[in-house]
């Protein structure tokens, strides 16, 4: 991973709020991260921790109202995606930034053939004529491992299995050679053997095409297998972030540490009793003025309720948002 290279995507202090009748939901609070060329950033966190809202905010995919991106910068090269308006975003979505979502059935349009849906961005963004787009569509389907690609162009999404639909989604996302691919839980709805196929595919495509990837999941195992860096989210914030091996070997945030201990491991001896994280994920009803993990944290102390900890650097490219120092076991 070239450390010095300019990031393809630079997100600073992103804040997204939903205004609902029951009040505000502070879904994303001051999230910052960078994505470097060719790297795979894994984003992990439990449901409601703000993973999807963060990524949807970047490319303007949230319905507004109720969503309001209240603060931040999202630099893609020299453009701030939060400032270029809907027309500017439309030109970028599907061209510079491709995306794949969790449920391939809802993100493919059931009334159009798969071929039409792959060719559409090629014609719109790349100005290809029908014949060229068609040829490229066949190449793309072959690239993602759909057998008999030529013939399958005229099939509809429901004629494909879940795993194949996800491959089609990936083909569409890759159609215009994006710089950035955002994959939001792309394998969560799939079986493990099909998940293994998709992961294998993405690993191969990365080597071949060299785009940068953001891969969202709640599965620590998936992250461990594919990511270069990992960003752990909790309660709409970044709890910990760093090189994947470093974060798994030396987790610093009490949430990351507890999470790694609570999941049973297939290839390690079986523990007699599972370690539990007590309590529930936080409500995001107000702008946080305290650590969102404090109600469940075994190391919480008085300061944690008073001040929301900022991210602090603890190693090369490794940072944590916590008032407790995992090396000394004391407050920082």
């Amino acid at each position: 991973m070239p450390d010095g290279a300019l990031p393809v995507l630079d997100v600073r202090n992103l804040k997204t709020v939903f205004r609902t009748r029951a009040g505000e939901i502070h879904a994303v609070n001051s999230v910052s991260f960078q994505l470097r060329p060719g790297e795979l950033l894994g984003v992990v966190g439990e449901s409601g921790s703000g993973k999807s809202v963060t990524m949807m905010s970047l490319i303007g995919l949230l319905p507004s109202p109720p969503a309001e991106v209240r603060d931040g910068n999202v630099m893609l090269g020299d453009k701030d995606l939060l400032k270029i308006g809907e027309d500017g975003l439309r030109a970028i979505r599907g061209r510079d930034v491709g995306f794949v979502f969790q449920d391939p059935m809802t993100s493919l349009n059931p009334v159009f053939t798969v071929g039409f849906q792959i060719m559409e961005p090629l014609r719109r963004h790349m100005g290809m004529d029908k014949a060229r787009a068609r040829k490229r569509a066949v190449e793309l389907l072959e690239l993602v491992g759909i057998p008999d690609a030529e013939r399958r162009l005229k099939d509809f999404p429901h004629q494909f299995s879940g795993g194949m639909r996800q491959r089609v989604m990936i083909a569409i996302a890759l159609a215009c050679d994006p710089k950035v691919l955002i994959a939001d839980e792309p394998t969560t709805a799939l079986d493990v053997t099909i998940q293994a196929q998709i992961i294998e595919l993405v690993k191969g495509l990365r080597e071949k095409l060299g785009m940068a990837i953001i891969w969202i999941t709640h599965d620590l195992g998936v992250i461990a297998g594919i990511a270069d860096r990992v960003m752990v989210m909790y309660g709409g914030q970044v709890a910990e972030h760093g090189p994947v091996r470093e974060v798994f070997a030396n987790p610093a945030h009490p949430y990351t540490r507890a999470l790694l201990k609570t999941v049973p491991k297939l290839r390690e001896p079986r523990a007699d009793k599972l370690r539990v994280i007590e309590g529930q994920p936080p409500m995001l009803g107000a702008h946080p003025t305290a650590c969102p993990f404090r109600a469940r944290c075994e190391h919480a102390f008085e300061r944690c309720a008073r001040e929301n900890p900022p991210r602090r650097e603890i190693g090369a490219g490794h940072d944590v948002a916590c008032w407790w120092d995992h090396r000394t076991g004391e407050p920082v």
Binding site: Q197, E200, D219, A224, G225, F248, P264, L266, P281, R296
Partner: protein, 355 residues
Amino acid sequence: MSVPRKKLLEVRDLKMHFPITGGLLRRQVGAVKAVDGVSFDIYEGETLGIVGESGCGKSTCGRAVLRLYDITSGSIKIDGTEIGTMGQSALRRMRPKMQMVFQDPQACLNPRMTVAGIIAEPLEEHGKLSGKKRLERVYELMDAVGLNRNFANRYPHAFSGGQRQRIGIARALALNPRFIVCDEPIAALDVSIQAQVVNLLEKLQDEFGLTYMFISHDLSMVKHIADRVAVMYLGRIVELAERDELYERPLHPYTEALMSAVPEPDPAIEAKVERIILRGDVPSPSNPPKGCNFSTRCPKVMDICRKLDPEYREARPGHFVACHLHDAGIMNNEPSAGTTGATPRNEHKQQGEDA
């Protein structure tokens, strides 16, 4: 392990086919063979894990065992009593013994009933206890599953996923069952909540001597909770063994592939895992392949596999498997039992099991 164990459940050649109807007269034109001849025992006090991919028949098997369906054929004995052919009124008297916990705690709790009402409902239905005694029992159950008594009059929507699952478990416990089918009880829960529910299920098992059938697609969690594990593929059990035996020495090529596909939350291990990537998708249960039902995806497929359905046999004591590779009679006598598969056999060979 040396104590002779008592069989609480004995299932033999259970089939559950759902008719496919078509045409104007809605005649039956085929059948989804959701469960297509499975046999297993569950011993008193143990947890039998059922794993396998979506659509392989896990839920159908669990529901059929509880006779939530009129089964197509086969025998189901609970505590020695045959319930496979039992009529509904006789079944009703058996119901308190056998209960179910579902995947989606939201969907199976009536949103217009209070928690106390939901938990008390089975008590009312079976005319057990009245008034004050019943409320006592509800409180007792809430204590057992770790729900605050003060929440008894709240409605389900006011609870989190993990708490709703506790409500579902309390309700399942109301009639003092002996056997509970847990159908993906943690699949809808966050990773940080799953351990809470699994530990609760284990605690209750110890406390009340419960026997579980634990259905899940999470092989790591099943390794934690189950005593023995059955692996299903396309309506069949392809392998069944003691937990450690199965995880350390899987015999069936599908079990091997399934386990190798599980991602490990440890980058150092992940870098070394040898994955067996299965090609293609699971065939349709209405039209399973001829011969071995795994032959269309099996990396070790042989000629004979496409012709002859492998017998489900006890390959080692307590270790059952349906694969020709583990049938000495076939492997010694069948000249064509050599490699003809698309993938060379030794490419993904594990531990020389199949020599």
